[in-house]
């Protein structure tokens, strides 16, 4: 039923994004509007604590507070070239929703964001931001009322509006060409990492790149230009929720099997009967029962190493970063940081961690945790 929508995109996206005029506009907006390049920051005290050399790729300093804006700038320009008047998006933590609402305001296009009812409650600052930016936020009330269900509702909206609407998917999921297109727009992250590392260390390749993975967009961007550099370790960190075997987890590579979700065949958390399981994570942005096909491939081929961090691990990592470096990370990014407790790196290794977003949106959760942990 979505054949026409997806086919239009598939047949035209490469021509459009490879056009030099598109590239110029995209680069200019990334620079002047999103604030790129984002710094590659050598985290001195964190490095000292873990006895290795840690660089943070500061996507949290992007306009709107996360890497999500890279993709929405690309897709809004694409939507304009396709002549679309109406933009829809799904969002989990609200970062992609805010990034979409932002570019819609920038370009004067109507914006409807689907967000799980549960996420609307736990991410209220982002809901307010989307509304202030002129977007309509529609609660997804089916299923687990989180990212999966918001995605279902956005897809249903697209079925109901086949001609005038572009669907800005926020992650490397969904039907082709989305996983490829979103990865291309996010690849700016590793493109910058390469020249920044070269400047700082003399070598454009680190020993290891670490990123959190829900659907996997910031990881796809951080890994992109290192995929063929076989000696660079790529570490993806999933959300284990309350523990992988707790029944309340979102660790797709540990718990998933091959299935079909939202138009792509990949690893999916599901029952033996093929019903999709409701995931759990303290971080709305990782609360997704699937994973992009690129990551499923990295997992299956062994090119990527997949770990998971629990809600508690992520909270501890967030508090540690705040204290040692004066940076409050998003809960999603805190999962990537949490891996430092689990893997020991060599003293002279250069480790890049993609700090995908900032923690303003998670302050409610952090405040509750401070009460509980008596911090």
């Amino acid at each position: 039923m979505l054949y026409g929508n997806v086919e239009e995109l598939r047949s035209r996206y490469l021509d459009i994004i490879n056009d030099p005029s598109f590239g110029r506009e995209f680069d200019l907006l990334l620079k002047d509007y999103a604030g790129r390049p984002t710094p590659l920051y050598f985290a001195d005290r964190l490095s000292e604590k873990y006895n290795t050399r840690i660089f943070l790729k500061r996507e949290d300093l992007c306009h709107t507070g996360a890497h999500k804006i890279n993709n929405t700038i690309g897709q809004i320009l694409l939507a304009q070239k396709l002549g679309k008047k109406r933009i829809i998006a799904e969002t989990g933590a609200g970062q992609h929703g805010v990034a979409t609402a932002t570019v819609c305001a920038l370009k004067g296009l109507e914006c409807i964001v689907y967000m799980g009812e549960k996420d609307i409650q736990r991410q209220s600052p982002n809901v307010a931001r989307m509304k202030m930016l002129g977007a309509t936020v529609v609660p997804a009330t089916s299923g687990s009322k989180t990212l999966k269900d918001a995605t279902n509702e956005a897809i249903r909206d697209w079925i109901n509006h086949p001609t005038d609407t572009h669907y800005i998917i926020g992650s490397v999921v969904g039907p082709h060409p989305y996983p490829d297109m979103v990865a291309r727009f996010q690849s700016i992250i590793s493109a910058e990492m390469k020249w920044q590392l070269k400047e700082k260390t003399g070598d454009e390749n680190p020993q290891t790149v670490i990123a959190c993975v829900g659907g996997g967009s910031n990881a796809a961007g951080a890994f992109f230009h290192y995929l063929d550099e076989k000696h660079v370790r790529l570490i993806a960190v999933e959300a284990a929720g309350e523990g992988i075997n707790s029944g309340r987890s979102a660790a797709t590579t540990s718990l998933g099997t091959m299935g079909i979700l939202h138009g792509s065949r990949s690893l999916v958390m599901q029952t033996a009967d093929g019903q999709v399981v409701e995931p759990h994570s303290i971080s709305s942005g990782l609360d997704y029962p699937g994973i992009g096909p690129l990551h499923a491939h990295l997992f299956a081929s062994g090119r990527g190493e997949f770990y998971s961090a629990t809600d508690k691990d992520a909270l501890n990592a967030a508090f540690l970063l705040a204290k040692l470096e004066g940076i409050i990370p998003a809960l999603e990014s805190a999962h990537a940081l949490a891996i430092l407790e689990k893997i020991r790196f060599a003293k002279e290794d250069n480790i890049v961690i993609c700090l995908s977003g900032r923690g303003d949106k998670d302050l409610d959760t952090y405040m509750r945790a401070m009460e509980n942990l008596k911090i």
Binding site: M1, Y3, G4, K148, R156, I159, T163, I260, Q275
Partner: protein, 282 residues
């Protein structure tokens, strides 16, 4: 000479036998459309709703009430083509414990009582987990006639799944929408057997269908010389929309309105609810 005659006789015999076999083997769906060309009423319901074991009661009541065909939905956690009413019937069915193995168990002897053509409608993921070929084999074995799988794309059908569907002699029904280009409609018609499912508007199930707005689309379908009969579905809810849809095609499919009619029905109430609902369409 003699031998040739003999061979011809044998071939003639085989051919005539083949024809009877063909007639015998012709699917229930095709037989229905040979017999009846207009006002075909196909009713959708979700297996396991309102209760786990309602399936056969509902089928029998539909048959008694005079419907022509049944589309039996297999519940799924993420039914992307469906609106809220069918979604929620699926959630209830899953909570009741409906699964594909359970459904086949319920359908084991249904052909003793049900003569209507029956199609299974569902989404790919649960079927893939069951095993696609096993699914086709078991569907045929219990007496199911065809499949409607809205998230099986045409190229996947051609590449992999169509051969299995054909191997087990199941009819397969593709969906077309007002946005489907003519060349693609023709191709989908070519690959379909039984009938072609014309979605009344670009929408999920259960939305209001302004059928008269789609007159051009329905006329276009009629003028294409399609090999399959056409049934219109999505948004057909009552007597007036049903008869309107029938004026543009061979018949129509009703789902959401029927599910609503079954809401909170006890096992005892099901036959009368169904009788009343179907009568209201006539």
């Amino acid at each position: 000479m003699k031998i040739e005659n003999g061979i011809q006789a044998v071939i003639g015999h085989l051919l005539s036998k083949q024809t009877t076999v063909n007639k015998k083997m012709m699917s229930r769906i095709k037989v229905l459309f040979e017999r009846k060309k207009q006002n075909i009423l196909n009713v959708y319901f979700t297996a396991g709703f309102p209760a786990l074991n309602s399936t056969l009661t509902i089928m029998k009541s539909l048959q008694d009430a005079g419907v022509d065909m049944i589309e039996l939905g297999m519940p799924y956690s993420d039914p992307l083509a469906d609106g809220p009413v069918i979604q929620s019937s699926g959630t209830i069915a899953l909570t009741n414990g409906m699964t594909i193995p359970k459904l086949f168990e319920q359908l084991k002897n249904f052909r003793n009582e049900i003569q209507l053509p029956v199609l299974l409608m569902g989404y790919m993921n649960p079927i893939i987990q069951y095993g696609f070929e096993n699914f086709c084999r078991d569907a045929t074995a219990v007496g199911v006639d065809g499949l409607i799988l809205p998230d099986l794309p045409m190229f996947e059908f051609e590449k992999e799944f169509g051969a299995l569907i054909n191997k087990y002699k199941l009819d397969f029904v593709f969906l077309v929408t007002p946005e489907t280009e003519e060349a693609r409609v023709k191709k989908l018609d070519h690959l379909s057997s039984g009938f072609l499912y014309a979605v009344s508007a670009s929408s999920t199930t259960g939305r209001d269908a302004a059928l008269s707005n789609q007159e051009k689309y329905f006329n276009r379908l009629q003028s294409m010389g399609l090999k399959n009969p056409v049934l219109i579905g999505f948004g057909i809810r009552d007597k007036s929309s049903f008869s309107k849809a029938c004026s543009y095609a061979n018949g129509a499919i009703i789902g959401t309105a029927f599910i609503k009619a079954l809401e909170n029905a006890t096992e005892q109430e099901i036959p009368s609810r169904i009788k009343n609902f179907i009568n209201s369409l006539k």
